[in-house]
């Protein structure tokens, strides 16, 4: 258990009848950058709230840096920096005053070093120049970065960042990715959630994919990718007939498209598929065997769209 920074077992959160998080077993290894992926509404934030002791599980258990949560959450949270469901600060205070307030609330923070630590954190996210501006005058990108700065007020063993790139322009997204990369190099474990695979893919060593409250895939990027089944795509003017042939050959997940038919290859030799198609009189215009990209896999795992949860 010690090699996991975050471990959950059978974690469930119900809101009334509806299970927003359903029996998930998260395993975030120490030192990893774990991409916690899933469309909006798939239960990422709800899971993160439970990890941080903000919400109480309906069932299951959580260990954060080896400590049981929520029982020992106040002992472990000083080592955890977090960003949950977007930034939130007092609008009429400056960025620096907001961080000062959070630091003052920290039972263990050394008041003497507060200013120095705050400036370091602001500098790290590139906000030092805007430190004296009121929070309400910040752009969404600056707000997001202030929230990350708040997570960096103390040295951390684990960072939990919920959609840190939300609302950032491509440049800002790159900067956050870069920041995550450099924190990980210093040995901090990072759990970063996103509904956009592309925003975190490059920086992740591990991924977990959520779909409607369930964790449908988890592991190193390579492991998850190997779970991707090769597919065959037939281009033809006769989609229905092509699909019938594929089914008859025992291929699974057969779908008809406007331009032909697709299915999982299931180990059937491509030569045999093409021969069978031709023998049955299906005019084959093109035939491709491919391994889906992580992006395709993500779409396949999480359902069609990225926007709907239930």
């Amino acid at each position: 258990m010690t090699d996991l920074a975050v471990a959950t077992h059978g974690l469930v959160k119900r809101f009334g009848q509806y299970a927003a998080v359903n029996e998930i077993d998260l395993a975030v290894p120490r030192g990893s950058v774990y991409g916690f992926l899933g469309p909006n509404g798939s239960g990422k934030t709800t899971t993160i709230r439970m990890l941080l002791g903000l919400a109480f599980p309906s069932a299951g258990d959580i260990h954060l840096l080896g400590e049981p949560v929520p029982e020992r959450v106040s002992a472990v949270l000083p080592r955890v920096g977090s960003l949950v469901e977007g930034p939130a600060f007092h609008p009429y205070l400056s960025g620096r005053a907001n961080l000062m307030r959070l630091d003052a609330a920290d039972r263990f923070a050394e008041p003497g070093t507060a200013k120095q630590r705050i400036d370091q954190a602001l500098d790290r996210v590139g906000l030092l120049a805007a430190a004296r501006k009121r929070y309400r005058a910040y752009s969404l990108g600056m707000r997001q970065r202030l929230a990350i700065a708040a997570a960096l007020l103390q040295p951390r063993d684990l960072l939990v960042l919920d959609e840190p790139t939300n609302g950032l322009d491509p440049q800002g997204t790159r900067e956050v990715r870069h920041l995550i990369g450099s924190l990980a190099e210093e040995g901090t474990t990072v759990l970063v959630s996103s509904h956009l695979l592309s925003e975190v893919e490059q920086v992740c060593s591990h991924v977990g994919v959520m779909r409607q409250g369930s964790l449908v895939a988890q592991g190193t990027v390579a492991e998850v990718r190997s779970g991707a089944k090769p597919t065959v795509t037939v281009s033809t003017a006769m989609p229905r007939e092509a699909a019938e042939v594929l089914r008859a050959l025992g291929l699974s997940a057969v779908i008809e498209t406007a331009a032909g038919a697709e299915a999982e290859q299931d180990g059937v030799a491509p030569e045999r598929i093409v021969a069978e198609l031709v023998a049955r009189g299906v005019g084959v215009r093109g035939f491709v065997v491919g391994t889906p990209s992580l992006e395709d896999l993500f779409v396949a795992l999480t359902g069609e769209g990225f926007d709907v949860g239930e």
């Binding site: 258990m1 010690t2 709230r49 941080l52 002791g53 903000l54 919400a55 109480f56 260990h63 840096l65 080896g66 400590e67 049981p68 020992r72 959450v73 106040s74 002992a75 472990v76 949270l77 000083p78 080592r79 955890v80 977090s82 949950v84 469901e85 977007g86 930034p87 939130a88 600060f89 007092h90 609008p91 009429y92 205070l93 000062m100 307030r101 959070l102 003052a104 609330a105 920290d106 039972r107 263990f108 923070a109 050394e110 008041p111 929230a147 708040a150």
Partner: protein
């Protein structure tokens, strides 16, 4: 397992400043937030305007017997302006001030989303409630002190300060009178702090600071109304506000302390009950704001 091994390391490496120092730092930060809010500064101005209005009204009108003993007394000694103002403001303005601050306390933080960031600092829920409650109590102190100080200043300016004729007719020195005024202010603060307990409880129930503020205002106003219905006299001793005006008893010779003692007990009971309820509710609440 690892839990028992790593825990002491955390606590040792991050022992930090002493408890008193760190709680004090958080409380000061909390007060800066309250005092720095433009809306709260305006509220203080409103509280301060009441003794000023009373004094000016008394100055420009021809003297006649009012139904408020303190107002009648004020023309002969400016100190009574402060007491007259307290008597008037405990009915609405001071409870309203407590209601506003209570709305901000937890509901306001939930509404802006800052509650989740305070809790993940981490601030334990118990500590957060206690610091918030202390800040509310200090808010009550500030409100009452402003009313009393402005009252004495404007009263002294317009009517002079001198030996104090008590409501019972006895005369005491100005120093003695001011001392009794301090006691009266403390008594009013105690009542408002008990109301702040209700405010804290309401504040953990909602994420809408305005809703919490309205609820607390309604509760205090409803208690005043019930207290005014003589058919309900069996209920009166149980109402938080019933004994609030008893600070007038401090201006008799000898001081009459029966009602004040009962008032303090009722205040304490309300405070303990509602802060406990707030604690029980907040401790197990999902923070989904």
């Amino acid at each position: 397992m690892s839990a028992s091994e790593t825990a002491p390391v955390v606590e040792q490496s991050r022992r930090g400043p002493s408890a008193v120092r760190s709680h004090g730092r958080m409380l000061r930060s909390e007060l800066r937030l309250i005092v720095g809010r433009r809306r709260n500064q305006m509220g203080l101005l409103v509280l301060a305007s009441v003794p000023v209005m009373i004094a000016i009204a008394l100055k420009v009108s021809t003297p006649r017997r009012g139904n408020n003993d303190f107002i009648t007394a004020a023309t002969s000694n400016g100190m009574f302006v402060a007491l007259a103002a307290l008597t008037i403001e405990i009915a609405l303005f001071l409870p309203l001030a407590v209601a506003v601050l209570s709305g901000d306390a937890i509901a306001g933080e939930a509404n802006t989303g800052t509650l989740r960031y305070l809790l993940t600092v981490p601030v334990t829920r118990t500590r957060l409630l206690l610091v918030k409650y202390a800040a509310l109590a200090i808010g009550a102190v500030i409100g009452v002190v402003v009313v009393v100080v402005v009252g004495v200043l404007i009263g002294g300016l317009l009517f002079g300060l001198g030996p104090v004729t008590l409501l019972s007719g006895t005369q005491v020195s100005l120093a003695e009178g001011l001392w009794r005024l301090v006691l009266a202010a403390l008594y009013v603060i105690a009542g408002l702090t008990a109301l702040a307990g209700i405010g804290l409880f309401v504040s953990v129930l909602t994420e809408q600071p305005i809703a919490a503020m309205i609820a607390v205002t309604i509760i205090s106003t409803a208690m005043w109304i019930l207290d005014g219905i003589s058919q309900l006299d069996w209920l009166h001793p149980w109402l938080l506000v019933h004994y609030w005006p008893a600070f007038a008893d401090l201006f008799r010779q000898p001081m009459y302390l029966d009602e004040i003692g009962r008032g303090l007990l009722v205040n304490l009971a309300y405070a303990v009950l509602f802060v406990s309820l707030a604690w029980a509710r907040f401790g197990r609440k999902d923070i989904t704001s």
